[in-house]
Amino acid sequence: MRLIAENLSARRGEDLLFQGISFALEAGECLILTGRNGSGKSTLLRVIAGLLRQETGKVTWHSAKAESDMRAAEACHYLGHRNAMKAELTVAENLSFWKSLFGDFEGGRGMSVGEAAEAVGLGGIAHLPFGYLSAGQQRRMAFAKLLVSHRPVWILDEPTAALDVTAEEVFTTLIKAHLAEGGIVLAATHQPLGLEDARELKMVGFAGVMEEVW
């Protein structure tokens, strides 16, 4: 099981944000993206998640059972800045919707909705509408979305924004558990997540103006 990125470059507008980024992540490995705001962390994560088109390079997913030309995005969970949960629906409704939409990726099973809410430390309030929760609780519930269905790769964009220290610890524990089960984690973050053997990729941003066509 490995996620391979080769020679990635992407642009925003006409500016090349990064170029020539390559890495290979094996099962159980974690890659932390650091750098100041606007350095292209989010862009790189979105490229890997297949949400943005890269200028050059490719992202591929390899495993024993995977077809060779599979989109890497299918093996990924993506937790962006926004929580992707509907304020009008209850937490349980939100989570079970995503659980049935996502389904499970080969080689694992997701938790039930109740277990997932329990795992992020908010077991008792899954029946509340999502909009009633505080920002930190909403973030935790958004994280619970990663637990309800199995995906080997987690792509986390600032997962710990708006969280206090205890919640951060919960997240760190969950990420470690995922890694211990042979998962892969890519995260962009300002704060250290407390992961010891994580690899780090420092993004500097603005790799030059786009090789212009005009």
Partner: protein
């Protein structure tokens, strides 16, 4: 019977619209060329016409 009024109006309308179009395209082109000339004068040129500034490293894993 002749309909000189309609014919002249039709040709006039066509002429006006076409000429406006031609002038618009032409003036637009002039304005763009002027902007390019200004940029050129202030020392900014196409990258292919100058030595490449070395790109900042994109970051290594």
């Amino acid at each position: 019977m002749t309909h000189t009024f309609y014919i002249t109006t039709a040709y006039a309308v066509t002429a006006i619209v076409t000429l406006c179009l031609i002038f618009w395209v032409w003036l637009d082109g002039r304005a763009r060329q002027k902007e390019l000339a200004e940029l050129e004068a202030s020392g900014i040129r196409r990258r292919s016409a100058q030595t490449k500034p070395e790109p900042a490293p994109g970051g290594q894993a």
